[in-house]
Amino acid sequence: MHHAPNVDIIRVMCSCRIDPTFLLKAFRDGADEVLIAGCHPPTDCHYQNGNIKAMRRYPLLLRTLEQFGIETEGVRLEWISASESGKFAQVMKEMTETIRQLGPLSWNGGSEGVSNA
């Protein structure tokens, strides 16, 4: 499996373990894009319905992040099971392309960031 090297992987037990707080922290700490990857709904969840919870949170999170001025192209939810390395590599490639076009988010460095300037 070959994919772009510019990704930090954070392993969690289930996509529903991804508290949306994590995404805000990732952006605040300098991530340009975030991928939430989970097992295919409706039946692939080891915990029965964890992925469904992630599925419910994603669109509301997306709308809220959009209101924060974060382009939604940079926040993806993909169902990628453990055996789908090809799909993972493909999504990584696409996301790297997306960020090349959007440019870095650089939350703290932007001219209208959190400073008083």
Binding site: P20, L24, M55, R63, T64, Q67, F68, N116, A117
Partner: protein, 322 residues
């Protein structure tokens, strides 16, 4: 023994917090007996020079309400910090940013554009905007500068304690004043209110089913909630699950869902995203399209979830321009 000196000051706020002090009613006389009020702009005439003339640490406690939006407010709170033993962030705006903090979805330029040109009731053909200095008839006049970003009090100066609420209820104010006078204060940085979620003390908690499930979001603007049932159960967005208790359930008793003015309980960094997560998780659907349709019935997620906490949230403000 001289009475301890107390100051009240307000920055970006509506004055509702100051009103709470008056809402102590006759108890305020006991407070006035016990302390010397050295600054209280809404009620008493003291000037900045009076405070500047005091020794550092001479004021026992300053209760500061309001968020920090102007350079003048920053100067005032820095002065009060120097002159005070304790600083208490008083009310939602000082504590979390509050309603003025919603200004962080814009910046100075956007706010000035709207306020001084776009608003239909404004007639400003020369497009005059506030500036920090102007010379008129030989006099140099100054105005404070207006920041792009609203800050909480503790993003500006060191804060010892927090009194939450919009406004803080009189009983919590009273308890705080007594704790200070008797020297029975908790650890520095504490929020002087209970540390439970509002649902825990909500009179409607008993009507909440084991598993909440929402098929459609309702708004109090367009329909009237039942007076007994859990708001979330009825489909009204209520911030109770992610909000600190202690307000006296004033909204709930007025048949309004909680809007979150007390901020989150200890341990929660970002109240808005926590309630977002909780509410999205109980949407009663497993179909992506239907979920999206239900979520689109929420008119303004950021304004709803971060109504009082935008400046204190993880991202603090909207990003304008890349």
């Amino acid at each position: 023994m001289p009475k301890p000196k107390v100051a009240f000051y307000c920055c970006a706020s509506c004055g509702g917090g100051e009103e709470t002090v008056v809402d102590l009613n006759e108890d305020i006389l006991k407070v006035v007996d016990a302390v010397d009020i050295v600054l209280w702009p809404v009620a008493l005439d003291f000037k900045r020079k009076d405070i500047e003339a005091m020794a550092d640490g001479e004021i026992a406690v300053s209760f500061i309400n309001g968020a920090v939006r102007l350079s003048e407010q920053e100067e005032w709170v820095e002065l009060l910090r120097r002159k005070s033993g304790l600083v208490v962030a008083f009310g939602s705006c000082a504590h979390l940013g509050g309603i003025p903090g919603l200004g962080n979805v814009a910046n100075r330029e956007l706010i000035f554009q709207r306020k001084y040109t776009v608003v239909p009731t404004v007639d400003n053909p020369d497009e005059t905007f506030p500036s920090t200095a102007i010379t008129m008839d030989g006099y140099e006049l100054e105005l404070p500068s207006f920041y792009d970003t609203v800050k909480t009090l503790d993003q500006t100066i060191d804060v010892d304690y927090y009194l939450p609420g919009c406004p803080p209820p009189p009983n919590l104010v009273w308890d705080a004043v007594m704790a200070i006078l008797e020297g029975k204060l908790p650890e520095k940085g504490a929020v002087l209110a209970p540390n439970k979620a509002l649902c825990d003390t909500c009179p409607r908690n008993e009507t909440k089913p084991e598993d909440l499930a929402i098929k459609e979001f309702k708004r109090v603007a367009t329909s009237t909630p039942d007076r007994e049932e859990c708001f979330l159960y009825q489909g009204y967005i209520c911030l109770g699950p992610a909000t600190r208790s202690g307000c006296g359930e004033r909204s709930i008793n007025g048949n309004m869902p909680c809007r979150g003015s007390f901020g989150p309980p200890d341990g929660v960094v970002d109240q808005g995203v926590k309630i977002l997560s909780a509410i999205a998780s109980i949407i009663d659907s497993t179909n992506e399209e239907e979920i999206e349709r239900i979520i689109n019935s929420i008119a303004d997620p950021l304004g709803t979830f971060y109504r009082f906490t935008l400046p204190s949230s993880l991202l603090r403000r909207k990003r304008i321009g890349r």
